[in-house]
């Protein structure tokens, strides 16, 4: 099981705060591809700026996923 959380603009535009996947997903790229393949609004909203955190640690590149992982998907941060 993989738990996915969406934040900020993505959460609003996708009208989705969280989603749980029971199937196996190999890595963060595969997850994003799967989501974008749903078509509008997913394909448009999850643009090339998308950031991923796995188990609350920011990822810089493709990161493998395993059962029980938590993935955060969000746009570039704007705090401070």
């Amino acid at each position: 099981m993989i738990k996915v959380y969406f934040f900020a603009r993505y959460r609003e535009e996708l009208k989705t705060a969280e989603e749980t996947f029971s199937e196996q997903i190999s890595d963060t790229e595969a997850l994003l591809t799967m989501l974008r393949d749903r078509g509008e609004p997913w394909s448009r909203v999850l643009d090339s700026n998308v950031l991923c955190a796995v188990n609350q640690v920011m990822t810089k590149s493709l990161t493998p996923l395993k059962d029980g992982d938590e993935v955060g998907i969000f746009p570039p941060v704007t705090g401070g």
Binding site: F7, Q56, G72, F74, T78, G79, G80
Partner: protein, 157 residues
């Protein structure tokens, strides 16, 4: 001394400084940064639009962890007596303080550099997002700034 807080409440810089330095008479320098809500923003071409309120969203759990990692990284890279990072969440209005970074050290170079480092990294690495609500009730998410990515890059070793 390391303090990290993500909170709705405002902070008092004098009180935070007293907590940070306490009775430690080896502290000679305290550098601070306070970020405040501006009533204008720089999205697109215009710098003229009024902001009524600013809502700060974050990733609960991750935010605190990343801020703590950042504070520890600063303690490792500079010779510091202590560090305090406070970031507010929820709904704020123009002139309200958003963030406080305060570092203490023997000499001023360490305090200044580490304070700037934490702010630069905070702007690009910590999961906070700002949403501006305009006087007409419409709202928009603030765009990230290219120059913030550049500022963070200069600290990469």
């Amino acid at each position: 001394m390391l303090k990290v807080s993500v909170q709705i409440e405002p902070f008092d810089v004098a009180e935070e400084q007293a907590q940070l330095t306490g009775a430690d008479a080896t502290v000679g320098a305290v550098a601070s940064f306070v970020g405040l809500v501006r009533d204008t923003n720089a999205v697109g071409q215009s710098d003229k639009t009024d902001v009524a309120t600013l809502t700060l969203e974050h990733y609960p759990g991750m935010t605190e962890q990343v801020l703590t990692d950042l504070a520890n990284e600063a303690l490792k890279r500079w010779s510091l007596n202590g560090i305090t990072i406070i970031h507010r969440i929820g709904e704020l209005k123009p002139t309200d303080p958003i963030v406080l970074v305060m570092t203490s050290s023997k000499h001023r170079g360490d305090a200044f550099d580490s304070c700037q480092y934490v702010m630069d990294r905070l702007k690009t690495d910590v999961p906070f997002w700002k949403k501006e609500v305009l006087p007409d009730g419409s709202s928009r998410w603030v765009d990230s700034r290219e120059c913030d990515a550049k500022a963070a890059e200069r600290w990469e070793q």
